[in-house]
Point group: C2
């Protein structure tokens, strides 16, 4: 392999984003990529704080702060007091947030299924392993 790696990965991600965008728009879900990542993270993380998301998604805290504010405003998540640390709040999905992320997951599953057409279980397993190794190599 040569240094077209980056190029193909960019193209793949761009195509994936575009597909997800279309699916999201088609279903009028009205949610952004970073909102999706945050909601998923909150759903999967007990005692989730803004800082948990900062660490988990490797993003700047100011960016996450703004995203949280957006999602609270949109009624997808709620803040509750964090007894363990008065500086922070615990974040939980509301019923609307859970419903939304479930719908998004369905669209993600559909796009992933399309992406994987014609590829064997073995090829996908190698792919997964390679991606995880590459992530590890860079961090």
């Amino acid at each position: 392999m040569n240094n077209s790696t980056g190029k193909y990965l960019f193209t793949l991600i761009q195509s994936y984003r575009s597909e997800m965008r279309s699916a999201i728009d088609a279903k009028s879900l009205n949610i952004n990529a970073m909102h999706v990542q945050c909601l998923r993270f909150i759903a999967e993380t007990p005692s989730c704080t803004a800082n948990s998301i900062v660490q988990g998604l490797t993003r700047d805290k100011s960016q996450i702060s703004i995203l949280i504010k957006d999602m609270v405003k949109k009624g997808w998540i709620e803040k509750t007091a964090n007894i363990a640390d008065k500086r922070s709040q615990l974040l939980v999905l509301t019923a609307a947030g859970r419903e939304l992320i479930d719908k998004v997951r369905q669209e993600e599953a559909a796009v992933s299924k399309r992406m994987q057409q014609g590829l064997s279980e073995q090829e996908l397993a190698v792919f997964q392993n390679v991606v995880q190794t590459m992530i590890k190599n860079l961090n």
Copy 2:
């Protein structure tokens, strides 16, 4: 494989971007990701026009128009009259642009090399095939 595909790919791309950013900053190359893609595309495309880039990189024409303006201003590319179509101009790299993209390619090669540590030729070949198939499946 499940729908964590998107998640891992996002993480990989983010890590890659971050690495490239650090490498670019360390060498004081002062160039952005989209500039890099454009310069590479121009270098590899005979009779390159703004529209060629729009089609090749699948980006909005207004975005490409602005990028071209930036790169001309920075002295990395030049516009020459397109005799075949008075509406458009041909884009070519200047000496400075060629030098810059060469340096970027070196950094890309270094990052790719790090990414690939511990992975066999066969695994990388499967990876490449899977990525290209996925791109094709989405378009």
